[in-house]
């Protein structure tokens, strides 16, 4: 076994004098397995790096240890370039931080710091001896994509992907496309007709030969991983099989019905916001006096969230009613008005100017709807003026939130992704809002969290871009599936002969990357390299070390533990 080439960096005098590199260098040189030790001034600069590479190639070592600065600085770049000299095998190069982690944090104790640096280098020499590299897996990518849900988000996603030249299967459980927009009469903040807004998307999709619409169809089964999903669709008794590279879930959300609140279902004239939209769309006459009540069934213990669309929606309808009939009396009873951004703020103000009344109530003193047979009036305690008001009303419109689609649970199971406590699909936290814990499965629109159609479309396009990053390739390597610049650490590896089939790794994996298979009558665990993200959870629950991360295996870590404290005194 050739040995390790060690480079110590003086960091232009910022590591010594606290850490005595010359004494250290001598000690390390005497270690077994160390071919040579070289001290340099600035390993981050190209000249020094070139010199290092020359020394390494001449020296006959096959691994490199660099003792320098923090892994979060330039050093990582150095490691990447040096590993190129080792055939791209990053497990052959190891960086030890003796600056931020040693010289700078123990400036008042040079003796201790030097001893620590010696231990750190010893630990990592031990690690290097045992570090291995995971074999990568490469799959051929299917160029087609499936989008589930043909609402605003789904249509936008489908169009984006088709425009990039890939076939899209747009799966919709209903009879046609359009989603929630089909139920609305107008949209905010432009006050354009909903049908008008929908038309361009519908036309574009119909004109796009790469989009195949599967109406009245659901997803019945799904297996596979990023680049290679096998889907079975069911439409009545008919079945279709798809083979796609990525899946986008844009299944939207449903409206919550306020049964038992504000005498909904008891009195005529008490309706939901959606019903108001329907009536206005069908041209029904609007009564003179309307009262909107906001936050019905939202921002309460069962649904402690704001659904974001209901305030602008009520304002939209209120302002339109006032425009059509300036003499109409329109009041909005609210807990807070949520209209973020300049455009929506202007929208709110113009409603105020048009004569829409806004009255604030407290959560613990909700308005009371009265009437017999049909609605008569609404009593509310106005928290801003401190006065109780009685407002005559011909109709009371209840703004209810969006709630998760009942299908989400089944889809989450089929695709092995998570749902949150309200039933919405879970994003891959942090920083990846349109991705899920399964690579290749994306979420957008209200299926992810309640949004209005404009935002849903934007998310759909975002999810499409993410999907295209996979679909656009001919081949996908497991290593590239982490979003880290250097790829993920590797993937777990199972030593078949050791596995007792206990299933601990299967239970603990956050990505469901392990599964038990029956091999010769006994159960053995198998790792799906495309799903594994190299978190290492499995390695810490395996009773006998069967499953290991080659880049961080037990022997390497064990070597580090044993060399951490060079026992100078007897204990």
């Amino acid at each position: 076994m050739p040995g390790v080439m060690v480079f110590l960096c003086r960091c232009c005098g910022r590591i010594p004098p606290t850490v005595d590199l010359s004494a250290l260098g001598e000690k390390i040189d005497r270690e077994e397995g160390v071919v040579a030790v070289e001290t340099r001034d600035t390993i981050c600069l190209p000249e020094d790096r070139a010199a290092m590479l020359r020394s390494f190639e001449a020296g006959g070592a096959d691994r490199i240890l660099v003792a320098a600065c923090s892994p979060y600085g330039k050093a990582d770049d150095v490691v990447a370039k040096l590993s190129a000299a080792c055939g791209g095998d990053r497990s052959r190069v190891r960086l030890v931080d003796i600056r931020e982690g040693c010289a700078w944090i123990h400036r008042r104790d040079p003796v201790g710091a030097t001893a620590k640096a010696g231990d750190l280098i010893g630990m990592n020499l031990g690690f290097l001896r045992h570090g291995k590299c995971s074999a990568d897996a490469v799959v051929a990518v299917r160029p087609e994509c499936m989008v589930v849900g043909a609402g605003s988000a789904g249509m936008a996603a489908a169009l984006s992907i088709a425009r990039a030249g890939h076939r899209v299967h747009l799966v919709e459980r209903g009879a046609g496309m359009g989603g929630m927009l089909k139920l609305l009469s107008h949209v905010y903040p432009t006050d354009a007709g909903a049908e008008e807004k929908l038309k361009p998307s519908l036309q574009a999709i119909s004109a796009q030969p790469l989009i195949t619409l599967h109406a009245k169809t659901r997803v019945a089964a799904a297996t596979g991983y990023a680049g290679d999903f096998k889907i079975r669709l069911a439409s009545g008794t008919e079945e279709t099989n798809l083979h796609v590279g990525a899946v986008i879930l844009a299944t939207g959300a449903g409206v919550w019905l306020p049964r038992g609140l504000y005498r909904y279902g008891e009195l005529k004239g008490v309706l939901t916001l959606m019903e108001l939209e329907r009536r206005r769309k069908e041209g029904e006459e609007t009564p003179r006096r309307s009262v909107f009540i906001q936050c019905v069934g939202a921002r309460c213990p069962e649904r402690p969230y704001c659904a974001t669309f209901c305030c602008p929606s009520s304002i939209k309808n209120a302002a339109l009613i006032k425009k059509e009939d300036p003499g109409a009396e329109v009041t909005i009873l609210h807990r807070d008005i949520m209209t973020p951004g300049a455009i929506l703020e202007r929208y709110y103000r113009s409603a105020l100017e048009a004569g829409v009344r806004f009255i604030r109530f407290a959560a613990d003193a909700p308005p009371v709807v009265s009437g017999e047979g049909k609605v008569d009036s609404v009593a509310v305690f106005d928290t801003i003026s401190g006065v109780k008001r009685e407002i005559a009303a011909d109709q009371v419109i209840l703004s209810t939130p969006l709630v998760a689609n009942a299908d989400n649970t089944k889809l989450a199971e089929l695709f092995h992704i998570g749902i949150d406590r309200y039933g919405f699909f879970r994003e891959d936290y942090p920083l990846h809002p349109l991705e899920t814990r399964q690579a290749g499965v994306f979420i957008c629109g209200s299926a992810r969290w309640p949004v209005a159609s404009g935002d849903a479309a934007a998310q759909g396009e975002g999810a499409a871009m993410k999907a295209l990053a996979i679909l656009g390739r001919e081949r996908l390597s497991a290593r590239s599936l982490s979003r880290l610049p250097e790829g993920k650490l590797g993937h777990a590896r199972i030593e078949d002969a050791f596995c007792s089939g206990c299933g601990n790794c299967v239970a603990v994996c956050p990505y469901e990357a392990c599964a038990l298979q029956k091999v010769g009558g006994i159960f053995v665990s198998r790792v799906n390299k495309m799903r594994c993200r190299a978190c290492g959870s499995c390695t810490s629950v395996c009773p006998n070390g069967t499953i290991q991360m080659p880049e961080h295996n037990a022997r390497a870590v064990g070597a580090m533990i044993r060399r951490a404290f060079s026992l100078r005194e007897a204990r």
Binding site: P304, D420, F424, Y429, C502, V508, V541
Partner: protein
């Protein structure tokens, strides 16, 4: 002959005669008047079945199943602790649960007190009356080791564990310890071929591996030739699992250990995720 033995022998007879099992693993009194485990096949042997002394058969049952053909059906005459051990083994896919029938019987008060057992009975005993369990923490030997001054306890444990001669008897006897190879024989974790044993690596690694699977059968303790109270090592962990997650190993075939699940699926009692975490998850005050 006690009613308990009578019922057990009767049931065993029935099963064999009806051809519902191919063999019965039980304790028998042999012709030298020695009681030991045996796999019996014939009706003539039923009469020698015994139900004492306490002898854990779960591991033998597992080995029997593994060494027999794929269609071999086994009945095991055993106590509650063995039944729980078999449940945990089945949960971990060590054998096909449909191939083993448990003929369970309850333990006597003397036995329960001797084992300090919280559950001296199988779930649905075939024979015997269920009696109340014993609280091991009330026993002075246990409380001497588990409560009180830390320094003194460590010295006591060090003294007890230093008797260890690394015979691996505890590991061999434990029904849950089935891994091959075993970490305790790996130089990386436990120094090989050196006695006295390294205390922490051997005993504590084994104890932790069993934290959520130990069924407190005491086979380890029974096997130890130098009398180390090995069962006591597990008692505190078992109690905390009970307190935090209402979990006891050996009782629920469909429930995975809470130590393998995230907080959404198995949150410890009285634990709240901090309010700032992912906003859609934060519990709101009302």
């Amino acid at each position: 002959m006690s009613e308990l033995i009578h019922t057990i022998r009767e049931k065993s007879q029935e099963l064999l005669a009806a051809g519902r099992v191919d063999g019965i693993l039980c304790l028998v009194r042999d012709r030298f008047d020695v009681v030991q485990p045996r796999l019996i096949f014939r009706a003539e042997e039923i009469g020698s079945i015994e139900t004492s002394p306490k002898w854990n058969l779960a591991k033998l049952a597992l080995q029997t199943i593994r060494q027999s053909g794929p269609s071999f059906r086994l009945a095991v005459v055993c106590r509650g602790c063995d039944e729980r051990a078999l449940l945990e083994l089945a949960k971990r896919n060590q054998f096909d649960a449909t191939r083993i029938t448990v003929l369970g019987y309850t333990c006597s008060r003397e036995q329960a007190e001797s084992c300090l057992c919280v559950r001296p009975y199988p779930e649905k005993p075939l024979a015997g009356e269920k009696i109340e369990g014993v609280d091991p923490f009330a026993d002075p030997r246990v409380s001497a080791l588990l409560t009180g001054d830390e320094g003194k306890r460590m010295a006591r444990w060090a003294g007890l564990l230093s008797r260890c001669i690394k015979c691996y008897g505890c590991r061999n006897a434990c029904p849950i310890c089935v891994c091959t190879p075993c970490k305790l024989e790996d130089d990386l974790w436990v120094e090989r071929a050196v006695v006295p044993t390294e205390l922490i690596p051997y005993h504590l690694i084994r104890a932790f591996h069993l934290s959520d699977t130990c069924v407190a059968c005491g086979a380890c303790q029974d096997a130890c030739p130098v009398g180390i109270p090995l069962l006591t090592l597990q008692l505190l962990m078992r109690r905390r699992l009970q307190e935090r997650y209402a979990y006891e190993a050996g009782l629920e075939a469909d429930r995975k250990s809470p130590l393998l699940m995230d907080f959404d699926h198995a949150s410890p009692a009285g634990f709240e995720l901090p309010a700032w975490t992912v906003s859609s998850e934060a519990p709101h005050e009302r």
